[in-house]
Amino acid sequence: MAEDSLPQPNTGPLANPAALSVAELARLLSAVGGTPVTVEQVQADLDAGAPVLPTGKINLVHYTAWLLREVQGQ
């Protein structure tokens, strides 16, 4: 995966997709998905077991993999 910063339309400053903060991820999901996503919603995913790096940040690919596993498990 390209480690370059991702182009993020309307998400503010460029962020590292391999280490996003909760707020950055919420902003990214809101901008790309077209529906507002709150920090609390992302935090709820983390509380539900979404992978977090030791630094407390979120790797976008790991998070996508977790979501995919979750939707298949429903």
Partner: protein
């Protein structure tokens, strides 16, 4: 490895990328193909997938999957908010005791008024099961001293035989002082912490279970009874939408704040005489700190301490220093001490009766074995 453009990934590339993470194999090509068909151009150009759009789509898909049939994410959020608001309203109304009849008008206003200035009548009217026999002459003297200490101030000591009701009188005096607003803060001091805790337990029991008190002082006993023994409710209890601020802990009682009640916010704090007495105070929610204006000492000696001259000396020092200074600089402290003569202790009587003593106290000693009015 060649660089991947995460905004234009082939299905096989995306599957490999997702399976490379710490969760292991989570993606299968046919599932991603199904998502591609299902989401259409929302997650890519129809052939390649944009990882950012895909993660956002998965995020909403996961939430939609968990909704009841027929709900959308948006109206489900509204529904949740409405349910939460209803729960909050229900919780608030459950915490508000105003509608449940816990606080009522006094049943016998004449009885209540008469007991305001008469400690003896207060004992007889509201504690008749406890004080059910005729008073002895010595008890009437003691009751008179208590009345003076509470209403007019001053320092008094009373030597009484064991089992003569010293403790019960002290506990009842605490309630009398606070229920009528004679004092705002009463310190109840026992020989040790355990004794002090027992006295507070007894006062709590009266507030919770004494039906005679509840008839005329329901503005105090009602909120306490409404706790129904679950003292964690004290912090959230409301009366007509305002917190009652009732306090109910192992070391202190704060009487409920009810509009129009002279006992609102009255405090009883207990301690053993060798415990943390100095600087005893209570900080109210408005930031004001209040200090005791009345101290009741119930038998400050134990059998062990009475045999030790040094312990007697220590306790005398505490009496003269920390306890009489409880009211704060320049403030007068009213006090009453009941005690049992275990052995002769010259310094104690000197402290109490000497005309040169700064405490200006007075002492009463009742006869041993005098006909006691209760068993």
């Amino acid at each position: 490895m060649s660089k991947l453009d995460v905004r234009q990934l082939r299905v096989a590339e995306l599957v490999r990328l997702l399976n490379s993470g710490p969760l292991g194999e989570v993606a299968q090509a046919h599932v991603v193909y199904r998502h591609l068909n299902s989401a259409g151009y929302r997650i890519g150009d129809g052939r390649k997938i944009d990882l950012l759009k895909y993660v956002a789509w998965l995020f909403h898909l996961r939430r939609t999957q968990s909704l009841p049939p027929g709900w959308t994410e948006a109206n489900y959020e509204q529904h949740k908010e409405a349910v939460n608001a209803r729960s909050r309203d229900l919780s608030e109304s459950a915490r508000d005791i105003a509608a449940d009849g816990w606080v009522r008008e006094p049943k016998d206003t004449e009885r209540r008024s008469k007991a305001q200035a008469s400690f003896r009548f207060f004992c007889e009217a509201y504690f008749s099961p406890t004080f059910h026999l005729a008073w002895s002459e010595d008890h009437l003297k003691v009751i008179g001293k208590i009345e003076r200490a509470v209403l007019e101030g001053g320092l008094f000591a009373m030597a009484m035989p064991r089992g003569s009701g010293k403790t019960t009188l002290c506990e009842t005096a605490c309630l009398w002082s606070l229920l009528y607003g004679h004092h705002e803060f009463v310190a109840l001091i026992g020989a040790d912490e355990e004794h002090a805790a027992d006295m507070l337990g007894s006062i709590k029991s009266e507030l919770e279970n004494n039906d005679l008190l509840d008839e005329d002082f329901s503005e105090v006993t009602g909120p306490v009874r409404a706790l129904e023994g679950i003292h964690q409710r004290a912090a959230g209890q409301l009366y007509r939408g305002a917190r009652t601020q009732v306090g109910w802990t192992a070391k202190e009682i704060v009487l409920p704040t009810i509009p129009g009640s002279v006992a609102s916010g009255g405090i009883i704090k207990v301690s053993g005489i060798t415990g943390r007495i100095r600087g005893m105070k209570y900080k109210r929610s408005d930031g004001n700190a209040v200090r005791p204006s009345l101290v009741l000492l119930d038998d400050p000696q134990t059998d062990e301490s009475a045999r030790s001259p040094s312990q007697c000396h220590t306790r005398e020092q505490i009496l003269a220093g920390a306890i009489l200074g409880l009211a704060g600089p320049g403030m007068k402290m009213a006090g009453l001490m009941t005690l049992t003569v275990v052995r002769r202790w010259p310094s104690r009587s000197r402290w109490l009766v000497s005309s040169n003593c700064s405490c200006n106290g007075s002492a009463v000693r009742s006869r041993q074995g005098f006909g006691l009015p209760w068993p």
